[in-house]
Symmetry: none
Subunit: 200 residues, 4 copies
DNA sequence: CATGAATGAGAATTCATTCAT
DNA sequence: GATGAATGAATTCTCATTCAT
């Protein structure tokens, strides 16, 4: 059922893997074809241009690959959670746990997202999932009424920033878990219904 | 009395202004000396190198200039607020309001911060102010106990992202005010003490 | 069998040749990538950067190429000479004869040597060969005892200067031969044992 | 009688002094107006262009100044020597002794001479003095007959090279004296008449 | 399919010189 | 006289892309 987001030929996969590692190491801005080719033990950058239509194409492939990997890690944890609030918490916590498993992928993804035009599909995809979650949660009466788009932007980028910070310092799994709980607490409180007995 | 944080000679100021506008327009990554020189009606990029020791120096000057401008707008509004919570709200709301006044400055600053090394003074300065505010608020018993650093990172970057989004769409002042209130609500709730009567 | 000290691909060789000629013409200091590219009919300096890691790399390749050429000319003449003194003479004379055969190579090499840091391998290599020759000659009792290093420096640079001067005026082979004899005489006398019957 | 080789106004002298020090430090090639201005505590390079017609003019002034200084040191020592051979020896030895007194001046002069066009007056001046000395010595029958020009070039540049090497290592005065004697020995032997009893 | 050489635009920086004040 | 801002050409190097083999 799963559409093949996979990178096709061996060469493509090899290049994508190298690109992700390079982006994670030196950042999006400095991830030139040269550097990626060198990292992938390719003798020339022509190779990359041959397999990808351009830098955007390569980046898209990287994002797809990363989402494959991160999805495989996070999705089961999110699915195991019951209810909108628990799923929000599971998202945040599994995202931080992910840092311990695939630090390069995480760092690369966030760096790409940060630098990509905000209209890019990758960015919008992540936003859309969150927005939908909040909207249905509001409909179900478990999230307070707030401007879904604005809150989504704030929370996702905040989460990204914490994840990047964590990835930079490579902390212990227990510390990652703590950060996840901290942030999940923050987000749950931020979106929770007002206490019912409140006079306001 | 105020030491001149101002950009010194006329030319320097002109270049800084142009640089800010260019960064706001095309982004940090593409803000080359060429582009800035063209924007500032300078005949050569050598001009810029003459007035600034390098790209870092120019960027630092830009940040200083922007902080001058934004501080002048936001500080009085923050100072007018009473108490930690109100000040947090004032910060968020005046930051959004600022978008209507100085969209280029806002966009440029955030782009610089995003791309600068996280150790840069500009970044750390903003974080430090927030952290201190949260810490004293916790001591005063108006914020719940949370990991100040983690929460600060999440909230500041979230705010930045909303601000950038707002700057991109150039909404009416009333819409900006609404966004400010939305986000302030979010942050106030996220950091508020638990209701005292709570059974949990 | 001889490992290829040769310049590898055709382009590299072409660039090295052009570089040597340019250095010979305008001197080390003014031998920019631009000039070399123009001389080699390359459309851009990027070409050179593509084939060589930097200016040092190109220069090293030039030196290797020149030493290849000059060695092929001088070595047989030196080897044909018998004894330390005759070999010293053969070195000096064949070096001046070389000017008639490869004036550009000779001029370029000396210019590079002059401007390179004195620690560069090219410089040290030439010195080492001479020093070893003097030392073994002293041990064999055919050269008087002198400070080998100091004398070597003086004689090599003196030889270089005469060679360059000769290269500048492009004299007849017979004139080159005469200059060679003159200088060889000078050096042989300078290093010869004192006459045995000398009272001093 | 001595024409005023002195640098005229205070500013000129200041610039010349700085230029000499900069050339001695970083070499002729990297001795830009910027660097010299900085070294001289001038706020702009325009100052230099104002006082000197161009780089050549400044260099000429440097050479004149250096020759003033070195002449003041060497000339008395040379004049004190009796006879052509002794004067040759005195020249060489005092030149090496000079390294201990004015290392910057020595280094700068040689660097300028090395890089200047061989037709420059500075270069020719030094050669002419030597040539004249050798010629009159030959006429007086104290030097053997040799090609004066060729030998002069070889010996002067050899001397320069040893001097530079010495200047780089900044040895003790006694070591400088030893080097001077070594080289003087070399040159005296190289130019000496054949032993009279020789059958040739 | 794959390669690696070629391309040409663009990057930041340094340079000697000029010129209005 | 003196200044320092301005100039524009030149420097090495990197970039993404193209193309013939």
């Amino acid at each position: 059922m799963q559409a093949r987001t996979f990178t096709g030929s061996g060469r493509r996969a090899q290049i994508v893997t190298a690109a992700i590692e390079v982006i994670a190491e030196v950042g999006y801005a400095k991830a030139s074809f040269s550097r990626i080719a060198k990292h992938a033990d390719l003798s020339s950058t022509g190779m990359i241009s041959y397999h990808f239509a351009g830098k955007d194409d390569l980046l898209t492939a990287c994002v797809a690959e990363i989402e494959q990997v991160t999805g495989a890690f996070m999705q089961p944890r999110i699915d195991a959670a019951d209810g909108h609030v628990a799923r929000l918490r599971a998202y945040v916590e599994s995202n931080l746990a992910l840092v311990g498993e695939h630090p390069a992928a995480v760092r690369a993804l966030i760096d790409i997202v940060k630098n990509a035009a905000s209209q890019s599909p990758a960015v919008n995809g992540r936003l859309a999932v969150f927005e939908e979650h909040f909207r249905s949660g509001q409909a179900a009466g478990v999230f307070r009424p707030f401007d879904v788009r604005t809150v989504t932007i704030a929370l996702i980028t905040g989460l990204d920033a914490v994840v990047v910070t964590a990835a930079d310092t490579a902390p212990e799994p227990t510390e990652l878990a703590r950060l996840g709980r901290e942030l999940a607490d923050l987000y749950v409180r931020a979106t929770a219904l007002d206490p019912e007995g409140g006079s306001a």
